[in-house]
C-alpha cells in the first residue's frame, strides 16, 4: 500500500502529461510523423510488445550497471577528494573538465576505443552519472558543521574515520539530492551510447524507428525509457530515505 501511495502522484503526473499531449495533438493538428498521439503510441506499444521488451531488457541492464558504477565511483571520488588535500588540486579540475566535455561529441571516439558492445554503453551511462554524484557529494562533504569536526578532533578521530563517521553521514542529504538527479539522467547516457553504436537496445530501436518514420514506435520506446527513468528516481529516493531514518524531510520528494 505504501508503495502504491508513493507511486500514486507519479501516475497522476504521467496521465496528466498523456492527456495534455493528446489534447495538444488534437488541437494543433500536428501530423503523426512529428508528434504521434498517445493513443497511436499505445497502439504501437501493443503491437510491438515483444520487440520493445527485448530491447528494453538490454537497455535496462546498461542503465542499472551504469548507475551503480557511476554512483559508486562518484562517491569514491568525492571521498578521496575530501580525504586527500593534495589530490584535490589536480583531480578537481580534471573532474570539472570531464563534465564540461559534451559526452556524445566524444561518443563516436569512445566507441572506437571500447567497441560496439555493452561495455561502451555502460561507460557512457556511468560517465553521465559520475560527475553530478561526485560533485554533489563533494559539496556535501565540505559543509560539515564546524562543531562536529571539533568533536572529532578532540575525540582523537583519524582523517579516515572522521570522513566516514562524521562528514559522510552529515553529507547524506546532499548526496541523496545528487543521486536522485543522477538516477533520472542515467537512461540518457545509455541511449546516447546506443545511438552512436549498437545493434540492440531501446536507443537503437528508436534510431531505427525514427529513420523509418515509425515515429509512434519511437515514442513507445521513449515511453518505456521515461517510465524506467522515473521508476529509478523513486527507487533511489526510497533507498536514500531508508539510509536516513533520522532525517526529517518534511514534505518528501514523492508527496
Amino acid at each position: 500500500m505504501s508503495v502504491l501511495k508513493r507511486l500514486w502522484p507519479a501516475l497522476v503526473g504521467i496521465f496528466s502529461i498523456l492527456g495534455l499531449w493528446q489534447v495538444l495533438v488534437v488541437v494543433t493538428g500536428v501530423p503523426g510523423y512529428v508528434l504521434p498521439s498517445p493513443l497511436s503510441v499505445l497502439h504501437a506499444f501493443a503491437s510491438h510488445q515483444q520487440l520493445l521488451w527485448h530491447h528494453a531488457g538490454i537497455t535496462v541492464i546498461e542503465i542499472v550497471a551504469g548507475l551503480l558504477i557511476g554512483c559508486i565511483s562518484g562517491l569514491g571520488t568525492a571521498l578521496a577528494l575530501a580525504r586527500f588535500h593534495g589530490l584535490r588540486r589536480t583531480l578537481l579540475p580534471i573532474l570539472l573538465i570531464s563534465q564540461a566535455v559534451p559526452l556524445f561529441a566524444l561518443a563516436p571516439i569512445l566507441m572506437l576505443w571500447l567497441g560496439y558492445g555493452m561495455t561502451a554503453k555502460i561507460v557512457m551511462a556511468t560517465l553521465i552519472i559520475y560527475f553530478p554524484v561526485a560533485s554533489t557529494c563533494y559539496d556535501g562533504l565540505r559543509q560539515t558543521p564546524q562543531g562536529w569536526l571539533d568533536l572529532a578532533q578532540t575525540l582523537g578521530a583519524d582523517r579516515r574515520r572522521r570522513l566516514l563517521r562524521i562528514q559522510l553521514p552529515a553529507a547524506l542529504p546532499a548526496l541523496a539530492s545528487g543521486m536522485r538527479m543522477a538516477a533520472s539522467a542515467a537512461p540518457i547516457g545509455a541511449v546516447i551510447g546506443e545511438w552512436v553504436g549498437s545493434s540492440q537496445g531501446l536507443g537503437y530501436l528508436m534510431l531505427n524507428a525514427n529513420a523509418r518514420m515509425q515515429v509512434d514506435l519511437m515514442f513507445a520506446a521513449l515511453l518505456i525509457l521515461v517510465t524506467f527513468g522515473v521508476a529509478l528516481y523513486f527507487t533511489t529516493d526510497a533507498v536514500m530515505r531508508r539510509l536516513m531514518p533520522w532525517h526529517e524531510d518534511r514534505t518528501g520528494a514523492t508527496s
Binding site: 562536529w148 571539533d150 572529532a152 582523537g156 526529517e248
Partner: protein, 254 residues
Amino acid sequence: MTSLGFSLSQARLAFSGQWLFDGLSATFAPGSWTGLLGRSGSGKSSLLRMIADLPIPDTHALTLTTDDQRPLAGRLAWMAQQDQLLPWRKVIDNVLLGPALRGHPSAAQRQHAMTLLDDVGLRDKAEQWPKTLSGGQRQRVALARTLFEDAPVVLMDEPFSAVDAITRLELHELAARLLAGRTVLLVTHDPLEALRLSDRILILGGQPALLSDFEVPHGQRPRALDAPDVQRMQSQLVARLHSAPHANIEGSTP
C-alpha cells in the same frame, strides 16, 4: 590513571584587531577542579578552544605545558557549550562516539555507556534518535559522552546550563564521583555551582581580560549548598563579578 596537571602562559586572542586577552597565564594542578567565570563574551569558550587546540579564525597564541612535557592531544575531553549530538546516531551511539571514531566500540564499552546513560537518567532513551530529546536531555547525553572519555584533563563549557535545579545537583554529584582525580576546567555562569565544585575559582574579566583568583570555601567537593561559607561566599562572588570592569548594561541594579 595518574593525574595530569598543566599550565598555560602567553595566551592571547584578538578578533578583528581587538584584543580579548593578551598574556594570560594559569596553572592547573593535577587532579584539581577549576571553575572559570566571567561575563558573557569575555572569551571563556575561546580559551577552552585554545587549550583543546581547536581552530580559531583570528589571531591567537598560547603556550601550553603539561606536567609530563608531552602534548595534551589524546588525553583531553572537551564538552562544548552546544551539545553537538550527531542526529544520525542513536543516543547510546552518541555516547559511544569516541570509541567509534578511534575504532570499534566493544561490548564492555557499550555496557559502560549504558551505565553512564543510567547515571544521567536516560537509560530508557538509549535507543532513541537525538531529535526526540528535550534540551536538558541532550545536554545530559553530551555530558555522558564526555564522561565516557575518561580523560585525565576535562574541559567543560557550561555543562549543566540546560537542566533543572534538582538534576543539576544530582549531576554535580555524578561528575564529582566520576571525575575524581581528573584535572577539570569548568566554565559556568552559576556562582553557586562554582563554589560547590571548584578547588579554585578563576574570573576572566577586564578589557583586555585578565584572570583573577577567588577564594573558595573549605571542605571536600562537592560541597553542601547550605554550608554557611558557601552561602556567604556566593554574595561575595556575585559582588566581585559585578565589580569586574565590563561594558555596562543599561538600567542595571540588582
